[in-house]
Assembly symmetry: C2
Homo-oligomer: 320 residues x 2
């Protein structure tokens, strides 16, 4: 590192200046102090680790900072809550310098501006690999958080946007070479994912019984909803919204799409939510099947059907 | 790792079960949901990184988990706030297994029990090194947070407990061999530090104008208070409470003691706080000097005096 910790902390405080009246004590003291919310407090944390979630060779500092915030905002959205404050525990290696770090924080601030939250604190450490551990707090009206466990037999299963784009984007980045037709949206999906905060609010208003963000792939995340609720699911292969340029396998198991997977009580709720999400955000909402009794997740494909294995992004899976 | 991520998450949920009525949604959903506090929300994050803050060879999983919580609780205490909830973003390497991880979480839960906070969420990732990034939230009555910037010329400078014990404990651990007389308290100071939550409340009640926890050494942390407040300080070398078995250098620059450094308006406040802290917690409070005009931190030693360099734990210092 080309700056001392004190110098870097000063630089960071400058990048992060501009906090609003809700921030009583911001970056630079032992802890941040912020105004309490009116509702319940929502808390989540997620880390991006070099070599596991990103490589310095293919990921820009700005995209990394942006994504580190967005993946946490997505978890807040999946509870139907609003994001409010962010903190970051940053581990920096000798591979990065002060300019890279300021860019990273610039990306974080950009994402915080987009989703209207404040970056109020952080911590710096040195280590052998870069790691960006972010915590985001949110707020939700008492009793209005949408959990995974509320899905009931008969509920419709819906998903926002399209799936597999992030995994396909990573494949494009690894392929290298000149960009082809259709590559750019896939790269955007991987490096600049979008958290569905407004869409989650619409789903909640339309009586969503369960919600999760698709961070580890449709198969695994749908199975998590089913396990939490003690139910099964039947989804139609043909209706899975596979991103243009992605494969079905990438849509089922790729992960990192940060779309919302939700269950709604009936077809009317799906129609209402679908129209409102399309009108307000230009985003599709697709009905892919229904919650059923039992524990299996079944995929139907015309006449045949098969059980969907809950596979997806497992951080601890042995390399195959 | 000898368990899949899903299996490990299930094991973790079992270790962390037992959350109270304040926890609306605990571990296992996209985010935790907790009851809001009555006061302002206090937020801090701090990471412990393998190779930088600990080595797997000398640190037990249980001590590591315990300390990862305590260092964050210490930051909450330094604002004169009460800790309430904790989150952990855990990065695990191939060097550790499920049993180690459960022990780590056991140490976290132990610390959470000691300081009356709930571990409500977390995240697991694989990486080349173990890293434990913890976020702790706290609560403080509106306007009652004690910042670093409030120190005024004429204020007394006090410190709780003794300094240098943690650095001396690390030295003892690296030395290895059989334990000698006096080693054990030093090892405790390093591996099982104590956060001064109750002591901070007493200092706040006695009109503390500024407070910081001594995480990076007295020299650096006192200079941070002086910079934040735009003042200088004069401290008496002979009055610095050096831990038995530690050197003066370890007390000034070793760090990780997690004692409180505070400024109080006058000698009467020091006496009152000192008596109360000794009676309630059996901990000494030592007057080591006073805040003065200017910007320098001066150490006096009988007739002579010298400027104290703000050196201490700098994560990005070039190895000397």
């Amino acid at each position: 590192m080309d700056l001392s910790e004190e110098d870097l902390l000063s630089a960071i405080a400058r990048v992060l200046s501009g906090a609003g009246p809700e921030v009583v004590v911001g970056v630079g003291d032992d802890a941040a102090v912020v105004a309490p919310g009116a509702g319940q407090l929502v808390l989540t944390t997620d880390a991006m680790v070099e070599g596991t979630h990103f490589s310095l060779a293919t990921t820009s500092a700005r995209d990394l900072g942006h994504k580190a915030i967005v993946v946490n905002v997505s978890d807040i959205a999946a509870m139907a809550a609003s994001p409010r404050f962010a903190l970051c525990a940053l581990t920096l290696s000798d591979s990065v310098d002060a300019a890279w770090t300021i860019e990273l924080l610039g990306g974080m601030r950009e994402a915080c501006n987009e989703y209207a939250l404040w970056l109020v604190g952080g911590n710096l450490a040195a280590g052998p690999q870069v790691s960006v551990a972010v915590t985001v707090t949110g707020e939700v009206a008492p009793g209005r958080a949408v959990k995974r466990s509320g899905a009931r037999p008969g509920d419709r299963i819906v998903v926002t946007g399209s799936l597999g784009g992030s995994a396909a984007g990573l494949r494009v980045a690894h392929r290298g070479g000149p960009l082809k037709e259709g590559d750019r949206p896939l790269l955007e999906a991987h490096f600049r994912p979008v958290a569905r905060v407004g869409e989650a609010a619409v789903l909640s208003q339309n009586e969503a019984t369960a919600m999760i963000d698709v961070s580890d792939g449709l198969s695994l995340d749908l199975s998590r909803v089913c396990v939490a609720a003690g139910v099964g699911a039947r989804i139609r292969m043909a209706d899975i919204p596979v991103a243009a340029g992605a494969t079905l396998e990438e849509a089922l198991g790729g992960g990192e799409d940060y779309e919302l997977l939700a269950t709604l009580p009936d077809a009317e709720a799906v129609t209402r939510a679908s129209v409102e999400i399309k009108q307000s955000f230009g985003v599709a909402l697709t009905d892919i099947g229904e919650i059923v009794e039992g524990a299996a997740v079944i995929v139907t494909d015309g006449a045949s059907e098969r059980a969907l294995e809950p596979t997806g992004w497992d951080h601890f899976a042995a390399p195959s």
